[in-house]
């Protein structure tokens, strides 16, 4: 096994020192000279035509510098794909959900801005609204978007063929429907954006983001200015979880106000705005029909899913596909037919979220448990009989390279004491297992690759430039570790410049779990190219061939004779003196099927690697109150290679909290006529320190040949499998298979009562 100096160590993160000192600057912490406060006026109606907007009273208020409406825009519509451009950043014709942006104001202070919002007079004509996907499809009232019949935004159809034939061969078939409502990210940092136009008419923006290059392009489109004039800056980000992957209308609105006023403008969202005005997770109604042979091996599956997409497309085609893809990666499905419908409703916009389709995944796993019970098979064995194996193709024809799915199942089961506990626990005491798989990236076209540039300073330290952004998961530390390992430097010798669209090259962003695999690999390649140049110079100094050299701890030395060495700093200085460049670039473009498309062609190589995770949960349910106490958690994932176990464990533990503890016990939104009734932390129940069970992390390393040092991704398949395991454990404890998630006390009590 390759020995590394920095890779694989429990190195504390490079960004944590500034964070514990309160020095790390987040967007809301920024202050610029002459900065104004921006605020957004949002629609109070779920569906209404905008008849007129009168801003005269607001403009007359002392301290108000500008009011903007849809008429001040270039009318450009945003959509992640060319075929989903349906969202204006300021609405001109109608509002489609409670919270849709209709106007905005910039003023000298917050109180004035707030007063001005109330003085903007918007006349609406209310329209009939629809609030759930089934009603929306059947609705005969005005469509939410005229060009989408039946309010169907996206239809993904996947069919491997032979589905009906294989159902005919099945020994046992069952069909079940599962539901789950919307959930929200509740990032610690409420959304905020600061924007200004500089003296060269360049737009400069600071905001939380899942990828700065995914912000700059839509802003360039909306203002009709070239990309080099849009400078998204690096700033500390207080969490994303998929909710900050896209442009936010506030980014554009803030920039528009800055343009109109000639001053920097800051918009800070309230907690309610962060819930309503960014993104949410889709609610879903999923029907799985599964046919198995006598041994419980799945021969055929048909899945139909209706997703409430809210008012606009957002990442619709991706969000409609990923719940299915995660499961087709985790399990062999035989023949399969999938129909996913994302339907417009007059509710806030739904996008990507860490647990893609909790109702979908928990339903599929619950049904496997039902089938296992019918056939008298242990759930662990049931999973081993259907689990993904290395070297196989998924149903949508992606080759799976490294895959230690079975090892994660076996190790988790052993650690959790499955054999001793399954079927032997006292009443209202249960154990459950979930398994899942996530993709490391997907075809992203022009933005699918990442490039890095590394320059050496005369003191032997290196500046590493990368487009990779850190949302809190530790991406910056990952880049520093890789650069230091590859260059033979120490982490403190690396100065990182990242996530800045002016200085760093294109990068896919920190979604689809791709930062390490693509962005990290780009830095690794750039560093390798630097090292080759350094070794050329060092070989002349040491008078040995370059290919005999290695670098470590700031020294370049002969591998077989480490005493023969030269400080790296000296090599850099010799290079500079001799007019030789030791700076270098490097990039990484994943080899995926570029013809694969979410809707028109959902087949072909999706990404280069998949991670696999298993979580096992043990619970006790109070039959009087329906309260669930989680006694134990084992989280086990095939991560490829653990670049930093300390960081990885933190990702596992956070995933259990969000996917399982919150996602399957307490987190969901409630609605009345399109209005979210629990948008704040007071009434949306997030897991607390006292709620969390002991978590046992097991890291499995399958060493992915295509990943940097063998790495894939960290903990997404834990977030997903944790949700499934929580659901299964509660079902096991009460002896009823739950089909509505999350499993809240009221549902648990109702299930217990019905069973009696």
């Amino acid at each position: 096994m390759t020995q590394y100096n920095i890779i694989g160590t429990r190195m504390p993160r490079v960004d944590s020192r500034a964070k514990v000192m309160g020095k790390a600057k987040f967007t809301a912490d920024l202050k610029l000279p002459h900065m104004l406060v921006g605020k957004i006026k949002r629609s109070p109606y779920a569906h209404a035509r905008i008849i007129s907007i009168d801003a005269s009273k607001a403009l007359a208020l002392p301290g108000v510098r500008s009011v903007v409406t849809g008429k001040d825009t270039e009318g450009v519509k945003w959509g992640v794909f060319a075929y989903t451009r349906d969202q204006q950043f300021l609405q001109t014709d109608k509002a489609r959900y409670i919270g849709d942006e209709v106007a905005a104001v910039a003023a000298v202070d917050e109180d004035t801005a707030q007063k001005a919002l109330d003085l903007i007079d918007v006349t609406y004509e209310e329209l009939p609204a629809v609030y759930d996907p089934m009603a929306a499809m059947a609705s005969e009232t005005e469509l939410i978007h005229a060009e989408y019949p039946n309010n169907i935004n996206i239809h993904v159809n996947i069919d491997t063929g032979n589905v009906d034939e294989n159902f005919a061969k099945a020994h046992y078939i069952r069909e079940d429907t599962f539901t789950a409502p919307e959930e929200s990210y509740f990032q610690a940092e409420p959304y905020a954006v600061v924007a200004r136009f500089d003296s060269d008419d360049c737009l400069e923006v600071w905001c939380p983001n899942g990828g700065p290059h995914m912000k700059s392009k839509p802003l360039s489109n909306s203002f009709k200015i070239p990309l080099h004039k849009v400078k998204i800056r690096r700033i500390a980000i207080g969490g994303a979880f998929g909710g900050r992957s896209e442009i936010c209308p506030a980014d554009y609105i803030c920039a528009l106000l800055a343009k109109k006023t000639g001053c920097p403008v800051k918009i800070e969202f309230t907690r309610e705005e962060n819930t309503i005005g960014t993104r949410q997770g889709h609610s879903m109604i999923t029907t799985h029909k599964t046919g198995v042979d006598k041994e419980g091996r799945v021969l055929a599956r048909e899945t139909t899913c209706y997703m409430d997409g809210g008012a606009y497309s957002s990442t619709g085609p991706i969000a409609t596909s990923v719940p299915f893809l995660s499961m087709e990666q985790a399990y062999r499905m035989g023949s399969v037919r999938y129909n996913g419908f994302r339907v417009y409703t007059n509710k806030p916009i739904r996008g990507m979220i860490r647990t893609h389709g909790r109702g979908f995944a928990c339903g599929l796993d619950t049904q496997l448990d039902m089938i296992a019970e019918h056939l008298g098979i242990d759930p662990v064995e049931m999973r081993l009989r259907n689990s993904r194996q290395p070297g196989e193709y998924t149903s949508t024809r992606s080759l799976v390279g490294s895959c230690a799915m079975d090892e994660t199942i076996r190790k988790a089961a052993e650690k959790a004491g499955w054999t001793e506990k399954w079927g032997k626990l006292p009443p209202f005491h249960g154990i459950g297992i979930g398994t899942n798989s996530v993709q490391t990236g997907f075809p992203m076209g022009i933005r699918g690759g990442s490039q890095s540039f590394i320059k050496f300073n005369e003191d032997g330290e290196a500046t590493v430039m990368s487009g990779v952004v850190d949302n809190g998961q530790g991406n910056e530390n990952m880049l520093v570790q890789i650069a230091a390992e590859e260059l033979g430097l120490l982490p403190e010798d690396i100065h990182l410049v990242n996530a800045d669209t002016e200085t760093t090259s294109s990068d896919p962003g920190s979604y689809s779990q791709v930062s390490t695999f693509v962005g990290g690999q780009a830095v690794k390649n750039a560093a390798a190219n630097c090292k080759a140049k350094l070794f050329d110079v060092a070989s002349k100094i040491l008078k040995v061939p370059a290919d005999t050299l290695a670098a470590k701890n700031r020294m370049i030395f002969v591998q077989d004779d480490p005493e023969k060495c030269v400080p790296l700093k000296k090599v850099v200085r010799v290079a500079l003196t001799n007019f030789i460049s030791v700076n270098a670039e490097g990039g990484y473009w994943p080899k995926v099927d570029m013809k694969r498309e979410w809707v028109s062609n959902p087949y072909g190589q999706m990404c280069e690697a998949f991670s696999f995770g298993t979580t096992i949960i043990e619970v006790k349910v109070d039959p009087e109150t329906g309260q669930v106490t989680v006694l134990n958690c084992v989280a086990c994932q095939d991560v490829g290679k653990a670049l930093n176990p300390l960081v990885l464990e933190g990702q596992f533990e956070g995933s259990v909290a969000m996917g399982g503890q919150g996602g399957m016990l307490t987190e969901y939104h409630e609605w009345r006529d399109g209005r979210c009734l629990n948008p704040t932390m007071l009434d949306y129940k997030l897991p607390l320190a006292c709620d969390m069970p002991p978590i046992h992390n097991i890291i499995v390393e399958s060493i992915e040949p295509k990943g940097p040092y063998g790495a894939k991704e960290a903990a997404m398949s834990i977030a997903m499998s944790a949700a499934q395991a929580y659901a299964a454990a509660v079902s096991n404890a009460i002896g009823v298979y739950m089909d509505s998630f999350p499993v809240t006390p009221d549902k648990i009590l109702a299930a217990i009562k019905k069973k009696k």
Binding site: V20, A188, E189, E649, G654
Partner: protein
């Protein structure tokens, strides 16, 4: 609204401020004094991101009027370290990987610091209860609880206690 002049004692230094009577302590810290370490996350006293200490007790600065803090010894996250030297609690947070996005970290530290001053030997249950007014969305709390527990009692078998301040965390010369 009529403005008021008052002097606040923050991190052992006096600060003269001119405020409105309805300004919260958090607004004064962040907007008037540029002490932006204390964060606003929920704005209604639920999440604990804005936690500071008044006379050693953790309080929500988003629910505390600046006026109420007059005469008290106010301590914020900026006052935990001694110059460039981190407090043992801060160091423990760094070494145990208790920091991810870092937005809840200042409030978490102020609550934990107050706990350790009151009870230098808390068990895990006590730590979890004490931190239950501070919401963290990233970590699942495991590493935070460990960092607090190991501040007072470094563990020989803990891989993250053993080495003290690790190389990357030393302030650059």
């Amino acid at each position: 609204m009529e403005k008021l002049d008052l002097t606040l004692n923050i991190n052992h230094k006096p600060f003269d401020v001119r405020i409105s009577p309805n300004d919260t302590l958090l607004e004064v810290l962040r907007d008037h004094l540029d002490l932006t370490g204390s964060k606003e996350s929920c704005g209604e006293g639920v999440c604990g991101s804005c936690t500071v200490q008044l006379d050693g007790k953790p309080v929500r600065s988003c629910l505390t009027l600046a006026l109420e803090a007059e005469g008290a010894i106010i301590r914020t996250v900026e006052g935990l370290a001694d110059g460039d030297t981190l407090s043992p609690l801060q160091e423990s947070f760094v070494n145990h990987g208790a920091v991810q996005c870092g937005f809840c970290t200042p409030g978490m530290l102020m609550t934990a610091d107050a706990l350790l001053k009151e009870n230098p030997d808390p068990d895990e249950d006590t730590i979890r209860k004490a931190l239950s007014g501070n919401i963290c969305r990233c970590t699942g709390y495991a590493k935070i609880v460990e960092a607090v527990a190991h501040t007072a009692h470094p563990q020989d078998q803990c891989p993250d206690c053993a080495s003290g301040i690790k190389s990357c965390c030393k302030a650059k010369e």
